[in-house]
């Protein structure tokens, strides 16, 4: 593994004010993620995982602290530059998919390309089809979200996050709404991407899923209490083989 740090977080604080109550969602968090790493962030509900991911994904600002992504000081950028950063360097995947309703898989995947000027209409379409094929949805490019299962919708979201060839993929409980088999299918995609060198940071509260990553970071009460390399790493492909087939595509809504 190379030594280049894709993510450098130093002394990050996030304080929420709800009425008179101050909530320290993140307390002095520091973390480095190297290029090519696959980090799973774990922790109980309310421990600050999503808060942390949203800041990493440049969707939210911390109260204090430093954050460098791919060498750029994200907290010094204005809103437009930050949008560009999200567009080009980050692929963000949500637990609830967040793909546009009534919009075909193809158009959803294509959308990030419409917010930069790099490709012509035809190239955009070709790239989007390729991205969909890479997540196993080559047959469903014209399907609407309501015609797709949860797993398929999440694959659309993954294809969308890949379309601009980001330096890092960030996923907040990407398998949180999916059954075991579909979860491993998603992990299989992640592992394949990671093997190609893409850095991944992912939140999960399932230890089985976390075992698919290379490194596990544990949050408690807004602090990192553990950061260790995964010892017996699971290979999603092999886990899938162990699972009974009938469980496939059963959805948890």
């Amino acid at each position: 593994m190379e030594n280049k740090n894709i993510i450098v977080v130093k002394n990050l604080w996030k304080i929420y004010h709800t009425g008179d109550i101050e909530m320290n969602a993140l307390r002095d968090v520091s973390l480095e993620v190297q290029q090519g790493d696959f980090v799973a962030i774990m922790g109980a509900s309310g421990s600050g995982k999503s808060t942390f991911m949203n800041i990493l994904g440049c969707l939210d600002y911390p109260t204090r602290g430093e954050y460098l992504i791919d060498g750029e000081n994200a907290l010094k950028l204005d809103k437009n530059k930050l949008a560009e950063l999200r567009n080009l360097k980050i692929g963000f995947i949500f637990q609830s998919f967040n793909i546009l309703a009534r919009t075909s898989a193809l158009e959803n995947v294509e959308l990030p390309l419409l917010y930069n000027n790099r490709f012509k209409s035809k190239e955009r379409k070709e790239k989007a089809i390729k991205a969909l094929q890479s997540v196993g949805l080559g047959e469903r490019i014209n399907s609407m979200p309501n015609q797709l299962s949860g797993g398929q919708q999440q694959r659309v979201a993954i294809a969308r996050s890949l379309i601009n060839e980001p330096v890092v993929i960030m996923a907040d409980e990407p398998t949180g709404n999916l059954d075991t088999r579909t979860s491993y299918e998603i992990m299989d995609i992640f592992q394949a991407l990671n093997d190609k060198g893409i850095t991944i940071v992912m939140v999960t509260h399932e230890s089985d899923i976390a075992q698919c990553a290379r490194r596990n970071v544990l949050f408690r009460d807004g602090q990192i209490i553990e950061n260790k390399i995964v010892q017996e790493r699971k290979i999603a492909k092999e886990e899938l083989k162990k699972l009974p087939v009938f469980q496939s595509e059963k959805e948890v809504k």
Partner: protein, 407 residues
């Protein structure tokens, strides 16, 4: 290229939210359509009234017996008898500002020819009457001074009288008819004028020499029904009216304390009265139209606001994958402009069709003015664009995560 992307994004968004797009447009269509139709009807009747008032002769001055109370309505014809032929002669002799003057007597009469029987209206006046009232003879000829002196039983008839007595398409010239049992010879036919705005048939008339009518058809020989005059130009009409008033007061030997026992009206006065009536009507129609516009606007607003939650989340998604606040605003702007303009265009079309239908089936004159199109278009475009832009502006200012969490 960049703007092309924006248009593409907006077009997709409109396309996938067809119902919302349609409902928003509907508000604008109804608003614009009704304003245009209403204002077209109002403006049409205003111009129609003006035209028919003007067709009575723009420079003409009418003098009636009896005084009109301030702003009120003249008493029925014949309820006063104060004007005489001498008055007409005095006006002709002393007022330089009028070129033509004629006394006139009039009454309704029964016209008979064989089996045909028709009730109409006869005016006895000098031949100047035609010029003053903007009438023309389409066939035959006018009567002469000699006819008047001899009280000759000749007349000029309107098309309606001709049609009803001699039958449609028949040439009445040289034919004879009986007016209140007195035989008259038709020597001229008036050019067709049609109905005026008040539904009066302007062709249902007989015109004969003054003396003829006064001597043969009227009971009193001293007084006249009215005096008609024509000003030398439109500009001098008000002055001419004043002069005529002075002359008549002298003629009638009225003292300073006496009210006028006559009324002098110019064409412009009548035009003004009806002008203000139609203005009231236009205002009324415009208010109705304004209410429709408002209702349409509220409809647009409702739909836009109802979709704010959905749209705010959509904006969150777009920003999360790299849309700038500006991109979002431009997209929403394009959508709103498109909806407003297409809705506006359809509304204009619908308004024109409605106005056309009113004209065709209701027989009501309509005139579509560019100002009504502009006004309604501008208003609904403003409403549509504002309510499309305002929630978008708010959402575009949020952190992506706040937009995504919006409820």
């Amino acid at each position: 290229m960049r703007i092309l992307n924006q248009i593409k994004v907006a077009a997709r968004s409109l396309n996938k939210n067809k119902l919302r797009t349609f409902l928003t447009m509907l508000g604008i269509i109804i608003g614009v359509g009704s304003v245009i139709a209403m204002l077209a009807i109002g403006e049409g009747s205003r111009q129609n009234i003006q035209a028919s008032v003007a067709s009575l002769g723009t420079n003409s001055i009418m003098i009636y017996p009896g005084s009109m109370n301030q702003g009120g309505v003249r008493m029925g014809a014949g309820s006063y008898s104060t004007l005489t032929v001498k008055d007409a002669e005095a006006i002709a002799a002393r007022c330089d500002l009028v070129t033509l003057v004629t006394p006139a007597v009039s009454r309704s009469v029964q016209v008979i020819d064989g089996a045909q029987n028709w009730r109409t209206f006869i005016v006895g006046s000098n031949i100047e009457y035609l010029a003053i009232r903007n009438l023309a003879i389409s066939s035959g000829s006018a009567y002469t001074l000699a006819d008047d002196r001899a009280a000759a039983k000749v007349c000029i008839i309107g098309q309606t009288v001709s049609d009803n007595i001699f039958g449609p398409g028949k040439d009445p010239i040289g034919q004879s008819l009986r007016i209140n049992s007195i035989p008259f010879r038709v020597i001229g036919l008036l050019e067709k004028k049609g109905q005026n705005t008040f539904g009066q048939d302007q062709d249902d008339i007989i015109i004969a020499p003054f003396s003829t009518v006064q001597k043969r058809l009227m009971t009193s020989s001293k007084f006249v029904s009215s005096i008609y005059a024509s000003g030398s130009s439109e500009k001098v009409i008000d002055k001419a009216k004043d002069e005529i008033g002075t002359i008549l007061r002298e003629q009638h030997k009225l003292t300073l304390h006496d009210d006028d026992d006559f009324t002098v009206r110019s064409q412009a006065d009548i035009a003004n009265i009806f002008g203000s009536i139609s203005k009231i009507m236009t205002i009324l129609l415009a208010s109705i139209a304004g209410i429709s516009l408002l209702v349409g606007g509220i409809g647009i607003m409702n739909i836009m606001l109802v979709s704010v939650t959905e749209r705010t989340r959509e904006i969150g998604i777009r920003m999360a994958i790299g849309a700038k606040g500006r991109d979002v605003l431009i997209q929403f702007m394009i959508e709103a402009v498109f909806i407003s303009f297409l809705g506006g265009l359809i509304g204009v079309g619908l308004g024109m069709i409605t106005a056309g239908a009113v004209a065709t089936f209701g027989g009501w004159p309509v005139v579509i003015t560019s100002s009504s199109i502009l006004l309604s278009f501008a208003f609904s475009a403003a409403v549509g664009i504002f309510f499309g832009w305002y929630p978008a502006r708010k959402a575009a200012g949020l952190n992506p995560i706040d937009a995504l969490r919006y409820e």
